[in-house]
Structures are given as C-alpha cells and as structure tokens.
Symmetry: C2
Subunit: 151 residues, 2 copies
C-alpha cells in the first residue's frame, strides 16, 4: 500500500493552518489518546490553555476493528465552558461520535468543538475544523520515529 510519511514539519504547518480556521473560543483542550496528544500540547501552548487533558479510546487494534469503541479516562469538565476535542484523524468517525455522545450526556452545558488534521469524507461525522483528506495510508512521525529501523 502507498504510504505517506507524515513528518513533524508537515504536522507543524497543518497545526498552523488549523489555528487559522478555528474561530470559536474554548477554555479546555482534550486530546484523544494517543493520536491527539502532541496536538493538544501544542495547541495548549499556542492558546495559552493549561487545562489540556487526555481522553482514551480503544477501537482499532491496528489490524482488526473491534465491534465497539470503548471510551475511558474521561476528564472532569465540571468547570469547563467550552472544550476543543482534537485528534490526528477522523477516519470512521466512531471514536469522535462516541466521545461526543458521552460528553453531551455527562456535561449538557459544555460547548463541544472538534478539530482534526485529517478527515475522511466517508466518516460518520465531520469535525468542526480539519485540514486535509488522507489520500493514502498515513505513517505518522510519532508512530515510527523512535523505532530502530527508522534511524
């Protein structure tokens, strides 16, 4: 399969592009772990927000797709007005849909926004803001850069 190596430099440019699109205020950032964590960190620095949290999902297991997406490690948003939920890619959309459902039920008064770098048109949900469509398999730098064969 054709792979595209997604470098840190491309990531940085895409995050800059996202910051130019995001046009709503928020006071909390939630990165979907693991893919959204670097993004959450850099947005936290950029927007000067310290409430940068993780939320976890298990769905993909790289090769097989589990029947249901399981969400865990849900942060306390009781003092949050608006949260930006970030992920590297909205692929099937299963994870994002499930997270939004859970957060809406638990925190009906919190505004929920979503942003991702990549978004597949076939996904069940579109993020509020995204940068581009994946045209082939994306090999993210955070997945491969520490491995010996990539030295």
């Amino acid at each position: 399969m054709i792979k595209h190596y997604y470098s840190y430099e491309e990531f940085r440019e895409d995050l800059k592009a996202l910051t130019k699109k995001i046009d709503k205020p928020f006071d909390t950032i939630m990165g979907i772990s693991r893919g959204g964590l670097s993004m959450a960190q850099m947005f936290g620095e950029y927007y000067d927000i310290r409430k940068v949290y993780a939320i976890n999902s298990i769905g993909y297991d790289d090769t097989r797709k589990l029947d249901e997406v399981k969400i865990f490690n849900i942060p306390d948003l009781s003092e949050t007005k608006a949260v930006l939920i970030v992920d590297d890619i909205v692929d099937s959309g299963d994870t994002m849909v499930k997270i939004l459902d859970i957060l809406k039920a638990k925190y009906p008064n919190v505004m929920l926004y979503t942003a991702s770098i990549f978004y597949k048109k076939s996904a069940k949900i579109a993020p509020d803001w995204f940068v581009k469509e994946p045209l082939c398999w994306i090999e993210f730098f955070w997945t491969v850069d520490l491995k010996e064969e990539n030295e």
Copy 2:
C-alpha cells in the same frame, strides 16, 4: 538570557536515548500536562501501550512561581500495575514530588517510575531516568513553533 532552541530532531534523539535507559516494565504512561504529552504519545507508540494518560499541574506561570503546586485531572490507576510518569523537565522537582505523593497515597500498590528529558541537579527529586542537564533556558519546539514570529 542565552536560549537553546530545542528542536523536534533533538527531542526524537533524546527519546531514543531514554528508551535505551528505561529498564523496568510498565503498563501505563502518564504525561504531565502539558510538557510531557508529546513524549507520552511517542512512548505509547514505542512501547505499544494504549493506557496513555495526562495529569495536570499548575505551579509555574512562566514568570512567577505559585506558592504551591496544584495537581488535578488525576487518572484512575485502579487497573494499573506500574506507571511511567513522563515530563519534559524536572526543574525544581516540586511537580514530580507532589504527583508522586498523591499517587502513592491513592494507589499504594502501583509501581511508580519517572522519566524526563532534562533534569536539574538542584531539583528536590531525581527521575529514575533522564537524558541531560539543561545548561541554559530551553525553548521547546512545542512552545514556539506555532507562533507567527517563528514562521
């Protein structure tokens, strides 16, 4: 003040160096938000661990030092045996000491390990593993790379 721009390339090499030092098993990774989140993500990928969480602290406010470090967003470790707590820098050590105190009290049976890229010898605590000592002010790529003046 002399500043050192800490690039993604240096970060990647330092994380590789850390993986060669870390010699204990763990099943959970906790990044101290915000500084430890990218590191937590990349270690999660490297060690194939999906339980990658954030824990938050407020202490530094860039210019002033608050009297006390406040820890919040503490993840549920009830199904964890050993956790690797990661941060970019152990500076005063206040944050790491406070986090260890809280986790030891709440989860006395969980093994707690700590790793950071930078460690100041004057800190109250040394992480189990670290890479180097900061010789001047470190300007981390995640802090400056999205800002316009750095384009």
